[in-house]
């Protein structure tokens, strides 16, 4: 699993490649808290290359969402594949984590 972050002026992108499971969840949490601590409170999680997500991945997203919101920002997801969206719907998290077609659209085009 590969996690990369890209800090941009209006938001930061965390991209996950591979399976988003318990083995990966701590990395996402840490990446999010580090970004928020540094003042980057608008986070987009790019799921375009995420092949799989389970409840551990979901938990990490919710945790990161809370960190962002407590700091006055927000966390959104982008480009989630169909199987990831299925899991979000099963858990009602599709209402909390709205999927945007692409990372650059998550916080509105500038």
């Amino acid at each position: 699993m590969n996690l990369t972050t890209d800090v941009q002026p209006r938001y930061s992108v965390i991209a996950l490649e591979g399976r988003f499971t318990a083995a990966v969840a701590p990395q996402l949490r840490h990446a999010a808290t580090d970004l928020v601590r540094d003042g980057n409170t608008n986070l987009v999680v790019d799921l375009s290359r995420t092949s799989f997500i389970d409840s551990s991945g979901l938990g990490a997203l919710i945790s990161a969402l809370k960190s962002a919101r407590v700091a006055g920002g927000d966390l959104r997801i982008a480009a989630a594949p169909a199987n990831v969206m299925s899991v979000l719907r099963l858990t009602n998290l599709d209402r909390v984590l709205r999927n945007y077609p692409a990372p650059e659209l998550a916080f509105g085009a500038s």
Binding site: A22, D54, S56, K66, N83, S86, T91, R95
Partner: protein, 137 residues
Amino acid sequence: MPVEPAGTVVVEGRDSLAFVAEVLDAFEQLGSSSEFGADEDRDMFALALSEILTNVVQHSHCASAFKLRVELAVSSTAFKATVVDDADPAVVDWERAVMPDTSSESGRGLALAKTVLDELEHSTTPAGNVWRLVRRL
């Protein structure tokens, strides 16, 4: 009509998240090499596998490392998995295995597995625990 087994795979290892990944890899190979089941069946069974195995690895009580043996089977009628471990007998609170609210950071695993499987059973033996997972096609 007789059930045609398309294949079985056994994965053995010790309790670790790396082992969970190995099992998911094995299922991915097994599922993609068979013509049975739709993508959704494969995705949802893989999800259930990950939930149960992660649960076993993270929540089992055992003073030291313990062993796991996972048998995966694909046939024209179902995806099946049997997970056997030699950890202490687990106590599964099925009544609490319901989907928590959206603000919850944990506790969804068993509820998700139950939702996507047709059968999910846990039993204990003198040697450890056995989980049976079935998704009918």
